[in-house]
Structures are given as structure tokens and as C-alpha cells.
């Protein structure tokens, strides 16, 4: 697989050729790390993927991805400013460093020939905090899935709420969940792939309401962040607390899946729950039965 071919690497300085694993601190040859889907060959640590890397990993053909509302960007509902830095200027900095308008990228594409509605989220953009853009894009993707009768795949990631949007940010929980309830009521299939980290309002809204909850190994998943818990209870948490494996053991997720078999697992799950792939634009809703008479 020609992985992450979209990743731009303009120069080849030594610092560019090698990276340090954030988990085991060992040096890894960058090229090898990328060939290995950003999974550390030494310790198995799953590094974060950018939105485009995630899309490339999951969908058949990036060129057939039809993005929803690609130009949508945050407004400044509160007139938020910190130490002279206005929120819109703050956002522009992230746009220039990531090339994104916000953390969430939504759209439709194909996975193993099956049409799906999809959202991926990029942690680099302001810690993937949820503001109105993420809420709206997730909602539009869910509505698209409802309308077209295709499965919904969301790959959540978030450090928490977008403080700069105050209560507008909190209300995105209600907005996204209302769309998901409607999708579920219609019988739609929703699979979420929780990545590092999935926290706070995102976990407590659209991320955890999937029919099948897959997580990447080692991903931090929860509601309250580790730092705040440690402040409150005044002691260190165990290293694995809130890890994907910890949450699996506590009954909160279905599967922890290595990145190299993630796409295959996703395809198998889609096949089993939604049935064999229907041709695009087929009238049949994918969740309808083949042979059971109603």
C-alpha cells in the first residue's frame, strides 16, 4: 500500500529523516514509520494520523471522496479574545499550520466499493476541540447518511470543548446526538473508530453512540481528562487508566483493533451488519433484510 502519499516532506534534513516515538522514546526512521502506518515498530504505539492520512487509510480512492462543506469555518459568537489574540486570528494560525479550516473533515466515499458517509478528525487543529464547525460537519454527515441510506463511519478524536465558543460549543453535543438518534431510528448502521484522544463532550455525545465501537490500541478514551482527575483525587492514575484496553475491560467498547487490520475489520463489520455491498444509488437501504419477510 502506498501509504500517506499525500504527506508533503519538502526537505530531507536529518531531523526530518528520523523521529522519536512519543511512547518508547526510541528513534525511528521516518520513512519506515510511515510505511508502518505511523505505528512504532518497537513498542506498537499508534501515532496520531492527520485527517488526510486517516482518509487514505480507510477509503478506496481519495479522489472519489466528496467533501461536505469544505470551506466551513468557525465564526466568533462570543467575540472571544485572549491577551490581545482574537479568536479568528487564532484560528488562522491553525489553518496555516494544518491547511485545514477546522479539525473535522466530513464527506462521502467508498470503502471496499460500499458508499459510506464519513467523518475524520485531526488532532492538530486546536486539539480537535469541538466547536460549531465540528458539530455542524458531524451533523451534516449523519444527515447525509440518513438521506442516502448508507452506513455512517466516524473516526472521533478530541481534547474537549472549544472554550472560545462557550455554550455554542456545548450545544453541539445536543445537535449531533439528535441527528444520530434520527439515523438510528431509521435503522442506519453507525461504526465509530475511537482514536487518541477521545474525551469530554465528543465522547459524551456522537462518539459513543455507535452500533459498534472500535478503538485504536492505547488511545485515551473517557470523559474527564487525566490531569483534572489527578488534581481532584490528588494522586497519580494508573498508566493504563482510560486506555482503549482499559475501556474494553470495563465494557465500554467492542473491539481494540491494530491499525494494520483496521480497514479489513471495518469491511468485515460492514458486510456482516449491513449486508453485501449494494450498488451506489441503489434504492435498497443497506440495513434491510435480504430474505426475511416483513
Amino acid at each position: 500500500m502506498q501509504f500517506f502519499k499525500g504527506t508533503k516532506k519538502p526537505s530531507h534534513a536529518i531531523s526530518d529523516l528520523w523521529i522519536t516515538c512519543t511512547s518508547c522514546n526510541r528513534m525511528i526512521y521516518r520513512r519506515e514509520h510511515e510505511d508502518n502506518l505511523k505505528v512504532c515498530g518497537k513498542c506498537g504505539h499508534h501515532g496520531r494520523l492527520t485527517a488526510s492520512e486517516r482518509l487514505e487509510l480507510l477509503i478506496d480512492d481519495l479522489s472519489k471522496f466528496e467533501e461536505i462543506a469544505p470551506e466551513m469555518r468557525s465564526e466568533d459568537p462570543l467575540g472571544f479574545s485572549r491577551d490581545g489574540l482574537d479568536y479568528p486570528d487564532h484560528l488562522k494560525r491553525y489553518k496555516s499550520s494544518t491547511g485545514l479550516e477546522d479539525a473535522a473533515v466530513a464527506g462521502t466515499g467508498f470503502i471496499d466499493g460500499r458508499h459510506v458517509s464519513l467523518v475524520v478528525i485531526d488532532f492538530r487543529f486546536l486539539g480537535a476541540s469541538m466547536g460549531a464547525v465540528m458539530g455542524e460537519k458531524v451533523t451534516l454527515a449523519v444527515e447525509k447518511a440518513s438521506l442516502e441510506g448508507v452506513p455512517l463511519i466516524i473516526v472521533p478524536c478530541s481534547g474537549g470543548a472549544r472554550m472560545q465558543e462557550g455554550m455554542i460549543s456545548l450545544m453541539q453535543m445536543a445537535k449531533t446526538v439528535a441527528a444520530i438518534r434520527n439515523f438510528h431510528d431509521q435503522g442506519g448502521l453507525y461504526i465509530a473508530i475511537l482514536t487518541d484522544p477521545t474525551l469530554a463532550g465528543v465522547t459524551a455525545s456522537f462518539a459513543s453512540l455507535a452500533d459498534v465501537l472500535i478503538a485504536e490500541p492505547g488511545a485515551t478514551i473517557g470523559f474527564t481528562g487525566r490531569r483534572l482527575i489527578e488534581q481532584i483525587v490528588k494522586q497519580k492514575l494508573p498508566k493504563d487508566a482510560q486506555s482503549a484496553e482499559f475501556m474494553l475491560c470495563h465494557g465500554m467498547i467492542d473491539l481494540v483493533v491494530q491499525r494494520n487490520v483496521l480497514r479489513d475489520t471495518l469491511i468485515n463489520t460492514l458486510d456482516l451488519l449491513a449486508g453485501p455491498t449494494a450498488p451506489k444509488n441503489s434504492q435498497a437501504h443497506t440495513s434491510l433484510p435480504e430474505t426475511v419477510q416483513q
Binding site: E71, M72, S81, M163, R181, A241
Partner: protein, 331 residues
Amino acid sequence: MKPQKPTTLDFEKKLDQLRASIEKVQSNATSQDQVSKIEELKFELEAQTAEVYATLSPWQRVQVARHPDRPHTQDYIDMCFSNFIELHGDRYYGDDQAIVGGPAKLGNHRVMVIGHQKGRDTQENVRRNFGMASPEGFRKARRLMKLAEKFKLPLITFLDIPGASPVLEAEERGQAWAIAENLMEMAGLKTPFITTVIGEGGSGGALALGMADRVLMQEYSVYSVASPEGAASIVWRDHKFAPRAAEALKLTPSDLLKLGVIDRIIAEPTGAAHRNYLDAARLLKETLTEELDSLRSRSVENLIQSRNAKFRSIGTPTSNPSGLAEDSVVS
């Protein structure tokens, strides 16, 4: 239960001094002069209270919303409702006393009432975890929501929570899952639904009871995406910037009404609810009854549709496909 020993906030101190003067004069008031003096002082107290409360900063409003003497859910249940039966338990793990709920009557309406419950003293606060609900509290609330739906009881909730319980045990039992399931339940709940922020509306733990047809706030309550201290830690990297964060977060009723996040503000008596339980309860009950009468005249389908349309529209950013929208405004 009203507090035994009232607490005084900084900006209330001069009001307390006035109150002390009144009591002093009152305790040996014999002449007509002294009676007039008392009247005068009382008038002065009322005026000064109004003035102090008219100019509260957002951060001071946070203090009032958190005031330890402020009426809590159970106080309003006692004062506004009758025949309340508290129902317990989530049927999975426990009974979280940080959330109370059960069927009751509001005037002639049979309703289901649910709210976050803070304690009044240290002992009660330990039992109620300072109002910080656990997954089993949210799950109990969901069970009661379903009961309300089944028996067609309108749902009335009260929000008053610093934030969902931030401990590892709550994570283990799926704090985020419990809140998300509540949101999904409320999004399609087939019964009229009114929520009122009566103190601190803190983040997802508050919203977990609050996705209502009508979202009301008492005049001196606040509703925020995070505590000002928490937001200050995140944005200013120091929780001491809480007053500045309180300002920036736009967490007051009037700001949230402008932002379209809430639907209505319920007045409180002069000096806020903690100075006058009965009037606070009367104003709350009048508003709830009025809102309920209005909701009950509409079909459940219409309610759910409007409920979701309202949350659907909050904060929808302008989409600029191909970046053309901004230009096209000109043409």
C-alpha cells in the same frame, strides 16, 4: 431545607451590615421615631440590594449561582410541587444521590421532576458528592425519563451541577456513555419537557438533563461549557484567571438569551433566591405552570420536531462553498 447559618459573599457584606443595624434598632424599638428609622433602613437595604445585584460582574454571578444558601432542587420540589415520590436507582449499579427524581404534581399537572441535588451541609455534601453526578445518576434520570414518556407525564428538570463527577470510578462505569445516552433519549422523548438552570449549569453534566423544549434560567444562575476555573486553566493556563474567563464565556442568562441558547429568564426576588426562598419558588412555579400550559397545547410530534430544530440551529456556521458566499453577499 433552608440553611441554619447563612453565608455572606464579599459584595453582600455591606448589605449584611445594614441588616445588622435594622436588627439592632428593631430589638429595642419603642418610639415612633425608631419605627420610622427601621422603615427607612429597610428601604435603604432594598435599594442597596437592588443596586448591588444590578451591577454584578459575571464572576460575582458565578458566586451567587454557587451560593451555599441558594435553594436546591429538593427545596423547589418541596415548595412548588405536591405528592412527590422519590424513585431510586438505575437498575444497573447504584442509587446516585447527586440526582433526585420522581413523579409529582405541579398544581393539577401530573409531571416527572428530576434534578441535580447539592447538599446543604458537609455531611449531606459527602452523600450527594457536592452535586457532581455519577453515571448511575444519569442512568437513573434516563430511567425516569422513560417512565415519564410511558405515562405521558411532562418532564421538568432542574440543573445545578458543578460538573459530572471527575473521578476514575466514574470513567470506569462510562460517564461519557451515560451522558450521551441521556442526550439520545431526550432528543426523541415523547413528552413535553421544560428545564430550568437553578444554580450552576456545569457542562455536559448539566446538559445531560437539559435537552428540553424550553430551556429556562433563573436570573442569578449561570450556564457554562466549563467552570470558569477550568476554562481559565485551559485558555490562560492558570485557574486564577477565572474571573476573566467568566466574563469571556458569556455564561449569564442575558448573554445566553442573546446567543439563542436559552429561551427565557425567570426573575428572582431582590437579593437573589437565597435571600427569599418563597418568592423565588413562587416566581419559578408561575413560570413553569405557564410554560407547561403552553407546551401541553401542542402535539408531541410537533414538540420533538421543534426541540430538535432548535438545537440543530444553534451555532450553525456560515458555510462558504468554494469560498464564494462572502463575495455573493455583495452582488
